[in-house]
Amino acid sequence: MSMTMSEKILARASGKDKVEAGEIVMANINIAMVHDLTGPLAVKGFKEIGTEKVWDKEKIVVPFDHQVPADSIDSANNHILMRKFVKEQNITNFYDVNQGVCHQVLPELGHVRPGEVIVGADSHTCTYGALGTFATGIGSTDMAMVFATGKLWFKVPETIRYEINGDLKENTSAKDVILNIIGTVGADGSTYKACEFVGQTISDFDMSDRMVLSNMAIEMGGKVGLCEADKKTDEYLKGRTDKPYKGFISDKDANYETIEFDVSDLEPQLACPHNVDNVKPVSEVSKPVDQVFLGSCTNGRIEDMRDAAKILKGNKVADGTRMLVIPASKEVYSKCLDEGLIKIFVDAGALVTNPCCGPCLGGHVGLIGPDEVSLSTSNRNFKGRQGSPEGEVYLSSAKVAAASAIKGEISLPE
């Protein structure tokens, strides 16, 4: 009866005693999320199916985050369409333009619990795996089926356990760990696999760090990026959810592959254009930067803001470089205000905007032009991701981003 964490969660969700990798199951969904960009197509699909009411108005979460506030008539129209759907269906959990990035908002507001199944019409839905949740990105038509039936088919994934040990050096962070893993296994190194992040380093990580790892599981093709729920998970959830939950862990004799990493000597890492697996140590790259972006569902949390503010305090963003700071949510923004971080950013010459996805997906604010270089704490550096296909995007931690903003070129934090 040995099973992996994914097999246990999917067995429970599909009402079975046992499932195994490769099997197709029809799972009941606990939470379904769509945002302002993927919602409209899901609504269209739902209407085509012809079901009058969604399966459960309390289990659908709709945050607006990609184009907030609306930057064009087309995006305003998408917002109008989604607000109308929310009203028609009486959807309980709707967060308009003022709440923040979906993958930050859902855990913060208690929609993510260990052992449950969450689907989101956004590929970085795997972020919630940090809490031991089987959470994965799906397309809008799959979401239309979930809206109508509360169910979705899954092929039970095989599991790779990334066993990570060692204490990180001071200027190294969770972002460097995951970039190192992706650089090692490649952009398709975990395709269709459930990635589990285990080991002493992960146990020591707080929830924010774990979210960085889980968030980027998709960048190596992973279906989910799971951490085992523990006391830190319980602490995080205290005051956020009052619903009972039960986490699962893989049995020792379950069927999985293990890949070990020792991160004790790891240096800050950089994903270079135009693939997330094109990873080099920061020390090997010398490059002037036009724009630095601190934010996103990967590194827009209060911990990242603190890391960056510590380095920026009393310093200035270099001439010729612009820095965009986008706290990932209202909660993060508010904490930044309380802790005086916004003043540090503004005094340093950075531009602080409302919580949103920002330039991460190249569809809203802060796009880059031809031949411009962006250093970003987000999760993707594909050609054209942040604007012009002739631009370049590098990915790093918040610490490297802040140090580089001051120097005007890609730099190690001192």
Binding site: G120, R385, P389
Partner: protein, 161 residues
């Protein structure tokens, strides 16, 4: 189905298939005008109805945007053949009725512009040289969805879900 080949490399991500700034569109016609714009601005003008895209490994990696396979479908591309596909793209394409064929080794065997013939039922691609390449057919569950014309018709035909 028979069509002219357009070749692309490895790790073709959904941002180059359909850049983020066009996600405001929700219809195949508007999306198709920007198909593959990240790599070739004029692809929408060059591609003809019935043409076939041939990619390398990890085709469709990145975002869950269904707008990407919709853009491909909107151009009238009849199938995408690749060494391997990323997971969400694979599902999305199947859900909207775009046939995907996973054929390891294909990109070394075909050239841009040549005509190839795909037999989905038999699982065979016939390339210009006359060589026949076998590929692994879709799993029966997914083939059933595709044969129904996509996920929504499949749901309508399975009311007892």
């Amino acid at each position: 189905m028979e069509g002219k080949v357009w070749k692309f490399g490895n790790d073709i991500d959904t941002d180059v298939i359909l850049p983020g700034r066009y996600l405001i569109y929700n219809d195949e016609e508007n999306l198709s005008k920007h198909c593959m714009e990240g790599l070739d601005e004029d692809f929408d003008k060059k591609a003809q109805k019935g043409d076939i895209i041939v990619g390398g490994t990890n085709f469709g990696c990145g975002s869950s945007r269904e707008h990407a396979p919709m853009a491909i479908k909107g151009l009238g591309i009849s199938a995408v053949v690749a060494e391997s596909f990323a997971r969400i793209f694979y599902r999305n394409a199947c859900n909207i009725g775009v046939p995907l064929v996973e054929a390891p080794g294909i990109s070394k065997k075909v050239s841009e512009g040549e005509k190839i013939n795909i037999d989905l039922e038999k699982g065979i691609i016939k390339i210009a040289s006359g060589e026949e390449i076998e590929f692994k057919k879709l799993p029966p569950f997914m083939l059933n969805i595709l044969n129904n014309g996509g996920l929504i018709p499949w749901i309508k035909n399975n009311p007892d879900l």
